[in-house]
């Protein structure tokens, strides 16, 4: 039982045209930059995968990571809560040109829909968005005299996730607020693909402190010294990165 794979290319090999791919991170924190770049590499070499539906809190920043994935033309639709950033030019231009679809979801509803997808809950009610444009067309029901909006689960074919450390069973721990959506996306994806700074042997993680139990993880790849999106953008980097 060993979920580690040799390299980034192998890790993302199962992602195909038209798939729904969840990508962890909140802005740059917890963004699996190297996995995203490996997917772009494959697209540049083979023309695939394309027509992806991507689920992320944001829409990328600058010209690396998710922004680079969008810029490469691989993304058909984005499901997110906040497609703005310090430098959102890539998404903004495509969106205003009508060349990328957007499903805007309140952040807490996005998190809960993903968690529901992972937990086998096909629908749930939330007070969030009641009476707003984002509730249009959704069933509304009163409970205890208060109105709630019904929301559906969100699942994915694959998730690209960044964690701090894994054991070979795929048990994961994260780093600070880089946790964010990552544990939820592991739950909701058929194939959770995780980049970690280090892989430890079984027993190398405190069983009390594991955030994502290995049952939610399918592939783990080591990226010893991952890029931080914020640093890349402050350096005005664009993918492919200069050596």
């Amino acid at each position: 039982m060993d979920k580690t794979v040799a390299d980034l290319a192998t890790a993302v090999a199962g992602i195909e045209d038209g798939m729904t791919v969840m990508i962890g991170g909140f802005g740059g924190a917890g963004a699996p930059i190297e996995l995203i770049h490996a997917l772009i590499d494959r697209y540049r070499a083979t023309g695939h995968p394309t027509d992806l539906t991507v689920v992320n809190n944001n829409a990328g920043n600058g010209h690396v990571g998710l922004a680079a994935l969008i810029e490469a033309g691989m993304v058909k639709k984005l499901i997110c809560s906040f497609p703005r950033s310090a430098d959102p030019v890539v998404f903004t231009e495509l969106y205003l040109a009508g060349r990328i679809e957007l499903e805007l979801v309140p952040q807490g509803t996005l998190a809960e829909r993903i968690r529901a997808g992972g937990a086998g809950i096909p629908a749930f009610y939330t007070p969030t968005s009641y009476g707003t444009d984002l509730a249009k067309g959704k069933p509304v029901e009163e409970f205890d005299g208060r109105p709630y909006v019904r929301e559906r689960w969100l699942k994915a074919d694959a998730a690209l996730v960044k964690a701090e450390a894994a054991d070979s069973y795929g048990n994961l721990v994260y780093r600070a607020a880089a946790r964010n959506f990552n544990p939820l996306m592991c739950m909701a994806a058929r194939e959770a693909i995780v980049q970690v700074s280090r892989i430890v042997p079984p027993g190398g993680l405190d069983p009390e402190a594991i955030v994502t139990p290995g049952i939610f993880v399918q592939k783990v790849v080591a990226v010893a010294d991952p890029h931080q999106e914020e640093d890349l953008n402050r350096a005005n980097a664009a993918y492919p990165l200069e050596a």
């Binding site: 937990a119 086998g120 069973y169 079984p202 027993g203 009390e208 139990p213 939610f216």
Partner: protein, 222 residues
């Protein structure tokens, strides 16, 4: 009539668990399956009360009563164990993350319906995680005696006892046979070599389809 012992039924069920499979074993008889995992194949066991990848029972006197399984028996941790709370645990169950759940049964219907939580209105009802486990695991299998102590079929056309779940069981390992449930019908896959199809049908409460070869159900003494 020749029949398999409980250990032998458990052994047979264990042979179908793939390397790396995540497995939940119902409390009681199904717990035996863990003992017979084939060499070279690692199963990772889940217990509803919040442990993944637990190990076998500790020696008597060395129990830690905070490390127990769903049947409240002491187990042990292993390198790679993870703890989690009940909502996460049932997210694993309901969310389709388990590869196999192996459960006991009072009755299994040809429709895949399972009755294994209540023998009727008297006494104190108790369901535990049974109704959750029948949903979500990629494969829900049952291990059971082929007939009740009174000799009545446990594999039936429709369950007479309160249901645990509807159309959930896909394979049944009995003391006499291995039977799949496909398209709402029992499909015979293996039977004891000493047993005729007619004799097996006679103790089964619904028709056994035989669309393909029936293998001999041969199990070592265990």
């Amino acid at each position: 009539m020749d029949k398999l012992s409980n250990n032998q039924i458990a052994w047979r069920a264990a042979q179908d668990i793939a390397d790396g499979a995540y497995v939940n074993l119902g409390i009681g008889f199904p717990e035996k399956v863990a003992q017979f995992q084939p060499a070279g194949r690692e199963a990772i066991f889940h217990t509803e009360n919040g442990i993944l990848n637990f190990g076998e029972a500790p020696p008597p006197g060395q129990e830690d009563w905070d490390i127990i399984n769903a049947g409240k028996k002491a187990v042990t941790i292993r390198p790679g164990t993870a703890f989690f709370h009940h909502a996460d645990s049932f997210a694993m169950v309901r969310g389709g993350h388990l590869d196999v759940a192996i459960l006991g049964a009072y009755e299994v219907a040809e429709t895949g319906d399972l009755a294994n939580w209540s023998t009727g209105p008297k006494g104190v009802p108790a369901v535990g995680g049974a109704m959750d486990l029948v949903h979500g695991a990629k494969r829900v299998a049952v291990i059971t005696e082929h007939v009740t102590k009174d000799g009545k079929p446990k594999l039936v056309k429709r369950c007479s006892l309160p249901l645990t779940g509807v159309a959930c069981v896909t394979r049944v390992y009995t003391s006499l046979a291995v039977i799949d449930i496909e398209g709402g019908r029992f499909v015979l896959r293996e039977k004891l070599p000493t047993l005729s199809l007619e004799a097996l049908q006679a103790v089964t409460g619904a028709e056994l389809l035989v669309p393909g070869p029936v293998a001999d159900l041969i199990v070592p003494e265990v």
